[in-house]
């Protein structure tokens, strides 16, 4: 039995107060094991982004239990959360979120600055090689195509060798060819043992995952393979 990475038990996230409260995530329970490739599907407004923020320790649930690799996230302080994000989770965002003033390898190096790391440049170059961008290490984000920018972002996510890679609509801003490349890289990373949580509204994108769960109105539902 593989190690448990994510355990959500009856997690709820409420925004606003009074009559304007929104239960963005409502009583969600989920179990993810090491090496899984899971897609969270749902239309916009279904609460999948909020779920992703909770999973990524970018936000804390209003109620319910969240254990990441056995540790209770609700009890962590800001520094411990920062440490979890840095060591255990790699983020890939829809808008890439690269720093425009820095070259590709400097962007990939960023997470290494917030931990004890030696040979940061070599580690960053290796990560760029893994996503096939060895020839673009000195390029600024604005000198790269959208697909290349997202590959730089993936290199940044995997440079710390995280337990889990959390990808939020990674193909949302890409054409079909670039999307294919990005999804191939994620599949490859999963094959080499990384746990991947992919959030998307697109069933075709979701189909690359081994397991698909659907979000609707804050509730989570397992989709049984046809």
């Amino acid at each position: 039995m593989a190690t448990e990475i994510i355990r959500l038990v009856d997690v709820t996230k409420i925004y606003g107060d009074g009559d304007a409260t929104v239960r963005a995530v409502d009583g969600v329970s989920l179990l993810v094991h090491e090496g899984d490739f899971i897609a969270v599907m749902g239309p916009s407004g279904s609460g999948k982004s909020t779920l992703m923020h909770i999973l990524g320790c970018l936000d804390v649930p209003t109620s319910g239990e969240y254990r990441f690799a056995g540790e209770d996230v609700a009890r962590m302080n800001e520094r411990e959360l920062a440490s979890i994000r840095n060591r255990r989770i790699g983020f890939v965002f829809q808008q890439f979120h690269l720093l425009s003033s820095m070259s590709a390898w400097r962007n990939v190096e960023l997470p290494l600055l917030y931990r004890t790391a030696h040979e940061r440049k070599q580690t960053a170059l290796n990560a760029l090689a893994q996503v096939g961008l060895s020839g673009r290490v000195q390029h600024r984000p604005n000198q790269l195509s959208g697909g290349q920018q997202q590959r730089v972002a993936i290199a940044r996510a995997l440079v710390t060798d995280p337990t889990m890679i959390l990808a939020d609509e990674p193909t949302g801003n890409l054409d079909s060819r670039a999307s294919r490349e990005v999804l191939d890289i994620l599949t490859g990373l999963n094959k080499s043992g990384h746990t991947i949580v992919l959030i998307t509204h697109d069933p075709i994108v979701a189909s690359v995952a081994e397991r698909v769960v659907e979000m609707a109105d804050g509730h989570l539902r397992e989709r049984v393979a046809a």
Partner: protein, 405 residues
């Protein structure tokens, strides 16, 4: 994150946003330089006012007649004609008045001077040979009235610089004063104006001649006596000696009923000192305002840049930066900009202090105090407004910062 690595990150942040860094540095640079230069110009003009007052002769005393008391009614100051040539002789006595170096009696009136090319109405002063020394004046050409010419009621005149150029007269020319022919024997150097008096618009002739032909009156009576102390340090004792002597010769025992007044140029100096203080306060306020404006400029750039960098803060947090890491990074960025801006500002001010007096006729005196205050305020503004908004952004939830527009 280690301090060295934070420093590296901070520097990279500055170089990555070159335009913003340059603008902030310029804001601090100009604020600092403006304050130093403004105060420098103020200090220099205060010095210049003081030294031109010193040039007037702070060791000069003027004895003028006091008020008369007739039938218990006191006349206005100067209504009496109590000063005489005997007083002059008494004050010239080196035994009784060792601290008085020159004594010059003066009678004056207004007269019309006519040269071959024009005519001018001006002040004519009748005096003796000591006038030049007592007034601390000098000649640009020719000679001054001598004692012999005073005795002989000579028809000679020494002209002020303005009068000479107005009359188009040079040494050796003939001019007429109230119709009487005079020979120009000297021209005074220019000494500028004090308040409403132009010290260069006058004609000086022997006192005896003046009494004959301009002012009239008794040959023994004088309107004013100019005294000069041996130095500005002895002006106090010269004052006392003159006071004592005149009280004695006028047979006055009660100083309150003295029929003369002694005033000194140091009275003028103290007036000037208060004017200078006002000037300095004015310039300091201007400097403070320019510092404030510079500070607001720096504040704006810093606030805008932090807002603009909220996404970066969010991303760095998502990647594992703690609020402390971010705070340190922004502190280093702001401190570097403030330091570089401050140093360049001081350098620019020193350069201006060197160039301006050479290119324009403006003196600049740079002193330490404004330099320290300007740099401290600029650096403080840079630090506070560079760090405070960043500290607030660093406390946001990472996702809120990441989604900021």
């Amino acid at each position: 994150m280690s301090l060295l690595r934070t420093f590296d990150t901070g520097m990279r942040g500055l170089l990555g946003h070159r335009l913003r860094s340059i603008l902030t540095t310029l804001g601090i640079l100009f604020g600092v330089a403006a304050v130093i230069c403004t105060v420098g110009i103020g200090t220099a003009s205060a010095d210049s006012v003081n030294s031109s007052i010193a040039a007037l002769g702070t060791n000069l005393l003027t004895v003028s007649p006091g008020s008369t008391v007739s039938f218990g009614v006191r006349g206005g100051a100067g209504s009496a004609n109590t000063l005489t040539m005997d007083d002059v002789a008494g004050l010239e006595d080196k035994q009784d008045a060792p601290d008085i170096s020159a004594v010059a009696p003066v009678v004056s009136g207004t007269a019309t001077l006519v040269s071959t090319s024009s005519n001018e109405s001006t002040t004519v002063q009748g005096t003796t040979a000591s006038w030049l020394a007592a007034n601390a004046r000098a000649l640009s050409s020719g000679v001054f009235v001598t004692s012999k010419e005073v005795q002989k009621h000579a028809q000679v005149v020494v002209l002020g610089a303005t009068t000479a150029s107005d009359l188009n007269a040079v040494v050796g020319d003939q001019v007429t004063i109230n119709g009487n022919p005079f020979q120009v024997i000297g021209i005074l150097t220019s000494s500028g104006s004090t308040g409403f008096t132009n010290n260069d618009d006058l004609a000086v002739i022997p006192i005896t001649t003046a009494q004959d032909e301009v002012t009239g009156g008794s040959p023994n009576s004088v309107q004013r006596i100019l005294l000069s102390a041996t130095s500005s340090a002895t002006i106090g004792s010269a004052y006392l000696e003159a006071d004592q002597l005149l009280l004695q010769t006028h047979h006055i025992t009660n100083t309150a009923s003295a029929d003369f007044n002694i005033t000194s140029a140091s009275t003028l100096a103290s007036t000037a000192a208060s004017v200078t203080t006002t000037l300095t306060i004015l310039l300091a306020s201007v400097a403070a305002i320019s510092l404030l404006v510079g500070g607001i400029g720096v504040m704006n750039i810093m606030l805008v840049s932090v807002t603009e960098r909220t996404q970066e803060i969010g991303l760095r947090k998502a990647l594992g930066a703690t609020p402390r890491d971010l705070l340190r990074q922004f502190l280093i960025e702001a401190a570097t900009l403030s330091f570089v801006g401050g140093v360049l500002g001081v350098a620019a001010a020193l350069l201006a202090g060197f160039l301006v007096p050479r290119l324009a006729n403006i003196a600049v005196t740079i002193t330490a105090t404004p330099v320290i205050i300007a740099v401290a305020v600029a650096a403080g503004v840079g630090l506070i407004f560079g760090v405070y908004p960043a500290a607030r952004a660093a406390r946001l939830a990472p996702i809120a910062a990441l989604r900021a527009e």
